[in-house]
Amino acid sequence: MSRYARQTQLKDFGPEGQQKLSQSKVLVVGLGGLGLPVLQYLNAMGVGTLGLLDQDVVEHHNLQRQVLYTEQDVGRQKLEVVHEKLSAQNSQTHFKLYDTFLTKDNALEIIKDYNLVIDATDNFPTRYLINDACVLLKKPFVYGALHSFEGHVSVFNYKNGPTYRCLYPNMPNAEEVPNCNENGVLGVIPGIIGTFQALEAIKILTGIGEVLSGKLLLFDGLSQRSTQIGFKLNPKNLELKKLQDFYEPLDCDVAPTITAEDFQSLLESKNTLTLIDVRTEEEFCERNLKEAINIPLDKLELSSLHITSVDEVYVICQSGKRSEIAAKQLQDQYPNKQFITILGGMNKIASLCP
């Protein structure tokens, strides 16, 4: 019996469905709770090309829901582990590996080669980035997200259908959404939502069934109920011309902070410290701390820093918002240093010493 016989014998799928899968290219963004069940099934079923994108390593507390990883894998690159296991599962699949996070600089270039994207990330900035990139490239993407015992699934931007922004026009603030450490999830929920996502992907790729476009599926594990909410396209969400300048990384690693008061004392007691001011040149010229180096936030990624003598780098802006973003960005770029945000920024400093 052929490898895919059990599905090719289905009248509504057939050898045609299999053929379509084998020629399909799917990018999975995120190799965590959602990405792994999606990949296990898409790979088993014979999707021809799978793009894997993640830069995390396996952590011990991932094992409770990220079922492809073993205890031995803790500390290894997720990308490497997943590639190894999926290759063993299906040697016919062509894998493309992206050892990176999705950013505004690489998103369009990476996504353009795929038929569809699976949003299996764990943070809003990447979800909005995927949405906007898919709108620009006219690619559908299968959205999945989790909260405790619940999950969301939908297909966005499918044949000019509604997008993620038609449900949630703007990214929520950091304060209104629990961060990942507070926000647990029952281990099996990502398995349910991830397999739902895989099913939607298969339907899109092969043309069978009804795609969850314009419908948000709400799954509640405690009552085992699925509810579908209909929603419409807001046409202005398709009128995107380019990506936003910035997708705020509200991610789970909260950057360390220092109060403006403590920072003042530090300034007085220490001879040298490294302080980066990420405001614009204009703002910087108006008022600044003499210890500060000015690298505006939008130039941060391009700048290369030479920080050799110290382990701690302080980051400041006007209110503390941009410095938080900057600190996280720098932390990713320079993992061996610690970047500390000054709470309240120059506003607070000014209020202390007028």
Partner: protein, 84 residues
Amino acid sequence: MTILLFGITKDIVGAPTLSVPTASVTGKKIPKTVKELKAFLGNTYPELNKLSSLAVAVNNSYAEDDQVINSYDEIALIPPVSGG
């Protein structure tokens, strides 16, 4: 009027559903639109006011703020969720 709660709204209220009185026996002003409902709920649960990005569904359809609601409508509060 029964309101189904999802995501963080369930955590804020501490229950999966919420009942809103529709007869004015309580003397309170009764919400007539989605916007009024949000304000009404925000009064009782101030943490709901923080949710700048809260979707509301009326009878399983996404509803804008100005949509009129009635006592027999089934309403759901659907905040964005981020986990993966």
